[in-house]
Amino acid sequence: MNAFLKRVGGSIAVLAVVLALNFFIFRIMPGDPLTGIMDPRFSPEAKQQLAEQWGLDKPMAEQFVVYIKEMLSFRFGLSMMTGQPVWDELRSRAANTAALLFPALLLSAALGIWLGVKAALNRGSKTERLVLTSGAVSFSFPSFFVQLLLLLCFAYLWPLFPLRGTSSVPPPAGGVKAFFDYLWHLTLPLFSLVFLSFGGWALYVRNMMVKALGEDYVLMARARGLSHRRVVWNHAFRSILPPVLTLLLLALPGVVSGAVITETVFSLHGAGRFLLEAINSHDYPSAGAAFFLLALLTVGCNLLADLLYVLVDPRVRREGAH
C-alpha cells in the first residue's frame, strides 16, 4: 500500500511537470496564436484587442496562474481556432478517436497474442516462421507509409473504401445506413492500425510463451493429465498475463498519440488531428488541454497497470504477508 501511495505521489509530480512544460513549450515555439487567427491587414489596435480578449497581454506569471487554475478545474476555455469551447471540440472528436483506437488496440492485441501463443506452441514449424516474419514486417514499417499504401491500393486504384473522412457526402439517410457508412469509413484506418500493431504483440507474447512453456510447472500440469487447452491458457499463458496486461494498459496512451498520424492520413475528424491542428495554429487552450488529458491518461494507465499487476499476481498481492 505504501509503495502504491508512493507511485500516486510520483504520478502527481509527473503531472505537475507536464502541466508546466505544456504552458512554456507552446509559448517559446516560434510564431504566435494571433497571427494565425487574424487577417494580416488588421490594425495593431485590433491585434491588441484580440490579445486582451485571450489574456495574452498579461504578464507570463499571471497567464501561468490562470492556466493552472483552468487545467486543474478542467475548464479549458475557448479554442482560438474555432471560438468554440475546447471541451465541445474535444467531445465531438473523441468519439471518433475512441471508435477507432479501442477496437484497434483490442483487435491487434487479441490477434498478436493468439498468433504469439500459436508460434510458441509450434516451434520450428512453418506457423512459427510465418508469425515471426509477419510480426517483424508489421513491427518495422512506418505507420504513414503503410497507411498511404493502403489508401493508394484500396481507396484510389481499387476503390473499395473511401479516401477520407468518417461519413459520405451527403450522409446516407437512416440510422442503420449511417452506421454502416461510418464503419465503412473506419475499416481501412482500423485495418492499418491492427496491421501495424499486431506484430509487436505476436513477437512479445511468442518470446514470453516459449519461456513459460519450458517451465517445470507447465511440464507438471501436463503430467497431471490436464487438457491441452488448460495447460496452455490456465498455466502457461496465465503466468505471463501480468506483463501482458501491463503492456496493454501502457500501450493505450501511445495508441492515442499515434492517432495524430492516422487521423491526418485518413482525414478523420478525431482528437489526434485536432491536437496537431492546435499545435500548428498555436491554439494554446486546445493544445494545452489535449496534452494535459493525454498526460492524465498516461499516468492513469500506469497506475491502473500497477493495481492490475497486484490483482493478477499473487506473489505481488501477498508480498505484505511475509
Binding site: E215, Y217, V218, M220, R222, A223, L226, L241, P314, A321
Partner: protein
C-alpha cells in the same frame, strides 16, 4: 504378452533416443533396451550417476519427453499398455495411473495458482468430484502429508521447500494412482527434512498399495528404503535385484566402484 497382475508397472525393452535440432540432426541414445517391473506396494530405487538415463526412463513412462524424442518398447500400467494409447487417451490416464513427485518441487507449482487449485483441478479433471467434496478431500490429503488445511489457500511462494514437497506428494496422491514416480524428490532439502519427506513418500506408497519408483543418485540412501535396486550407466541397466544383494555383493564392477566411492565420501570405508 499381458502384464503380470502383481505388477504396478512393467517396462519391456524401453529405449529412448533424443534428436537434436539443426542441420546435423544429431541423435543421442539415452536409454537402451531397459526392462524391469515394480510390484504393487513395492519400492524400487533407480540409481546411477548424472546423465545415466534414469530421468529419461522416468519421463518416458507418462510420455513427457520433449517432442520428437524416439521411444520404443512397451510400458504396462494398471492392466493396460500405455505405449499403445494415443495422446488423448494417455492424457486421461496420467495422474490416475501414474503420478509424479518432481525433482525439487520449487518450480513444479504454477505460481499464480493456490495449493487448493493444484489439487482440485486434477480431481475435477479425473475424478469428476463435486466442488465441495473436492475442497474437503484436498484438505484431507494435506493432513495426510502433515500439512494443515490452512495451506489450501496458500500460494507456492508462501511455502518452504519441505512444505512444497509435501504438498506435491498430496497432489500426487489425489487420484489414487497405481504407480508413483519420484524424481530425486528430496533434492535441495536439508538432511532432516529429506529423511522425513522420503519416509513419508515410502510409507504412503506402501500403505496404499502403489508401486513406487524412486530415482536417485544416492545409492546408500536408496538401499536403506527400497525393496529393490536398479543401477544404470550410459542408458543401460547394469545390475538389479534386492537392495541388500546389490549393496553387499554387487555383481558389476561399476556398481562396486559406485558403492565404494560413496563409502569413501561418507568416511565409512570398510564398514
Amino acid at each position: 504378452m499381458p502384464m503380470n497382475e502383481k505388477s504396478a508397472i512393467e517396462i519391456r525393452s524401453l529405449s529412448v533416443t533424443y534428436r537434436g535440432g539443426g542441420a546435423e540432426a544429431r541423435e543421442t541414445r539415452a536409454v537402451r533396451d531397459c526392462s524391469f517391473s515394480v510390484g504393487k506396494g513395492d519400492v524400487v530405487g533407480l540409481a546411477g550417476e548424472s546423465g545415466c538415463g534414469k530421468t529419461s526412463v522416468l519421463m518416458a513412462i507418462p510420455r513427457l519427453l520433449p517432442a520428437g524424442t524416439l521411444v520404443s518398447g512397451q510400458i504396462f500400467c494398471g492392466g493396460e499398455e500405455l505405449t499403445a494409447l494415443g495422446e488423448e487417451e494417455l492424457n486421461t490416464r496420467r495422474w490416475r495411473r501414474v503420478a509424479l513427485v518432481p525433482q525439487g518441487a520449487m518450480n513444479s507449482f504454477t505460481p499464480h495458482l493456490s495449493i487448493e487449485r493444484h489439487i482440485t483441478e486434477v480431481l475435477e479433471r479425473h475424478m469428476n468430484m463435486p466442488g465441495r467434496e473436492r475442497r474437503e478431500y484436498a484438505a484431507e490429503l494435506l493432513r495426510t502429508v502433515g500439512l494443515e488445511s490452512t495451506f489450501l489457500t496458500r500460494y507456492p511462494h508462501e511455502l518452504s521447500g519441505g512444505q512444497k514437497q509435501r504438498a506435491a506428494l498430496a497432489a500426487a496422491l489425489a487420484c489414487k494412482p497405481d504407480f508413483l514416480l519420484a524424481d530425486e524428490p528430496t533434492t535441495a532439502l536439508d538432511v532432516i527434512t529429506q529423511k522425513e519427506v522420503l519416509d513419508m513418500i515410502v510409507s504412503l506408497a506402501r500403505g496404499r498399495g502403489m508401486g513406487l519408483l524412486l530415482v536417485t543418485h544416492d545409492l546408500p540412501l536408496a538401499a536403506g528404503i527400497c525393496d529393490a535396486l536398479i543401477v544404470m550407466k550410459d542408458g543401460e541397466i547394469l545390475e538389479s535385484g534386492p537392495s541388500r544383494d546389490v549393496i553387499n555383493s554387487p555383481k558389476n564392477e561399476y556398481t562396486r566402484r559406485l558403492i565404494q566411492a560413496i563409502r569413501v565420501m561418507d568416511g565409512g570405508e570398510g564398514q
